[in-house]
């Protein structure tokens, strides 16, 4: 497993625990020390930079550098004002967009896991099928939008379908990696117990796939929000993406930025929810033990 955990777990480097091989005892020790000693600098420095950034933005520092007008890049205070004024609409649309993202992600992840199960149960043909699924991963979301719109109409289902396709691919690839990246010793042990295929899956492969599944879920949480918003850009009559592209068209930049702010907050919360779930379900895993 060393050095090549999930290919796609690029989201997880924030939590270095997830790369069990890369850190030795030394690193862990250092982490502990830094947790105690440098916690202030770890929070204060970025916080300070963030505040500085917003102040510079507010006093139009960026506007002078890049030669922008305030109607092109609205000030933070104006954006906050726009959020306050349109809070009802924004919250309403936020719920709609999140519902799309959530449903699509649930459906896509379930399908993806199923594909991974089948793919690792019948490796010879499954791998070929998986390659096709990976190809879906590279398809631009915007290309899917119009087709799903033709199939499922303007309603919520077309966005759910887009998100399903995107999230399915990520989950299939990751879960398949998790199911095939099992410890050979454990596999030998199960074989020595004369375990059959179903039992190998039940006791070893599925459990082993869990960390990878959560990595995929975290990627999917973000991807599903992107899919929902981009899907709404063109064909929706509701939702954050619709409001965003519409406000840009009528040159209401503050409202457009307000949509982005709200969407980002939803994205972060969605991500954090998945992360909490991961902590709850993976208590047994070494990366979560201290």
């Amino acid at each position: 497993m060393r050095g090549k955990t999930v290919e796609d777990n690029w989201l997880s480097q924030s939590r270095s625990q997830e790369n069990p091989a890369l850190k030795s005892a030394i690193l862990k020790q250092r982490q502990k020390l830094s947790k105690l000693g440098k916690v202030s600098s770890k929070i204060l420095i970025p916080l300070f930079a963030g505040v500085l950034f917003f102040i510079l933005w507010e006093v139009q520092f960026f506007h002078t550098i890049f030669g922008l007008k305030t109607y092109q890049l609205p000030l933070p205070s104006v954006i906050m004002e726009a959020i306050r004024e349109n809070l009802n609409t924004l919250v309403n649309f936020m719920g709609y967009t999140f519902l799309e993202a959530f449903l699509g992600m649930l459906l896509g992840s379930a399908l993806g896991y199923l594909i991974a199960l089948i793919g690792s149960a019948y490796p010879k043909w499954g791998k070929g099928g998986l390659t096709i699924v990976v190809a879906f991963n590279a398809v631009p979301i915007v290309a899917l939008g119009p087709i799903m719109n033709l199939w499922f109409g303007n309603g919520i289902s077309s966005r759910v379908a887009i998100i399903t396709v995107i999230t399915m691919a990520t989950m299939a690839v990751n879960a398949h990696k998790g199911m095939s990246n099992v410890n050979p010793l454990s596999l030998d042990l199960l074989h020595s117990y004369a375990a059959n295929k179903v039992q190998v899956f039940r006791y070893l492969r599925i459990a082993n796939s869990l960390p990878y599944v959560f990595t995929a879920l975290k990627i999917n949480a973000t991807a599903s929000m992107i899919g929902a918003i981009v899907g709404e850009f063109f064909y929706a009559s509701k939702g954050l993406g619709y409001l965003l592209s519409n406000s840009i068209k009528v040159a209401q930049m503050p409202l457009g930025w307000a949509c982005i702010v709200i969407a980002s907050v939803v994205g972060i919360v969605f991500y954090l929810i998945v992360e909490v779930l991961e902590k709850v379900f993976m208590k047994w895993h070494q990366s979560e033990r201290t």
Binding site: K4, K42, A143, C259
Partner: protein, 268 residues
């Protein structure tokens, strides 16, 4: 890597692909003649019609695709360059890392593609905003992955370099940079299709040229242009897939020592 082995390995994929195409063709016929749904050919066109239309309009399609690809590639290159640079800065200075890292992680949780209309609104120039968006989409996965790679050098190897009194740039060039290549490529493989997506998205918002523009145009013309519309979608999808394949190929050439490329090894 002989030809026969390659054929043997890719046989299941080919069978799947052909199977899918057959299912496509049958369902298209089914929709058109049995169910007789309205707009059947817009929903799922015959493949042979698509091929006909493609041979007829291949010049236009390829030209527009090349325009899209060009801005995606420029953006991708800019994003990669800036991303690697920042990752090197971050790995060399604790201070910069602490400053930027939380924001990089947060950037993974927000829908960046949603910024496309805003960037377009600011720049109001489709060429530039295509490149900016493509660069933006590339930037974040590249920084995070490169940083992880630069950090993943084994402590004992670093100590060895120190004991040889190696200069910092030597440590980077000889140890950290090669070590970071696998995860850099992981990032690039994520970023390449994203940059194409970003470029197409900006085109859909209002550019004058590019595959996204004719996609939108043919969609509005209605069912008579269904084949052309489907072709633009397929070309867009192929561009994304192609970018992924190219990066994978480069990865194989640059880092042939990775376990998954060895004859035995990888995750089987």
């Amino acid at each position: 890597m002989n030809l026969q082995g390659l054929l043997k390995r890719s046989a299941p994929t080919l069978v799947w692909l052909i199977g899918l195409l057959i299912i496509w063709q049958i369902s298209s016929w089914f929709l058109l003649n049995v169910l007789q749904v309205p707009l059947a050919q817009s929903k799922l066109p015959y493949i042979h019609e698509l091929v006909f239309t493609f041979t007829e309009y291949s010049g236009t399609l390829l030209y527009q695709a090349s325009i899209t690809m060009k801005s995606a590639i420029i953006g991708f290159a800019v994003g990669t360059f800036v991303g690697i640079l920042l990752a090197i800065f971050m790995s060399s200075s604790k201070w910069i890392e602490q400053l930027a890292f939380p924001y990089l992680v947060a950037s993974q949780m927000i829908p960046i593609l949603g910024l496309a209309p805003i960037v377009y609104g600011i720049v109001r120039d489709d060429g530039v905003s295509r490149i900016i968006i493509a660069a933006f989409m590339t930037f974040f996965p590249v920084v995070l992955n490169t940083l992880r790679g630069l950090r993943s050098a084994e402590p004992s190897a670093v100590e060895l370099m120190h004991s040889y009194a190696a200069k910092p740039w030597a440590v980077y060039w000889k140890l950290r940079f090669p070590q970071s290549l696998p995860s850099l490529f992981t990032g690039l493989k994520i970023a390449a299709p994203l940059s194409v997506t970003g470029a197409i998205l900006v085109e859909l918002m209002g550019a004058t040229e590019g595959i996204g523009v004719i996609m939108l145009r043919n969609l509005y013309y209605g069912s008579s242009h269904a084949y052309m519309f489907w072709l633009t979608v397929i070309v867009g999808a192929l561009l994304g897939f192609l970018s992924y394949l190219v990066i994978s190929l480069v990865e194989r050439l640059v880092t042939p020592w990775q376990p998954e490329f060895r004859k035995s090894g990888g995750d089987e």
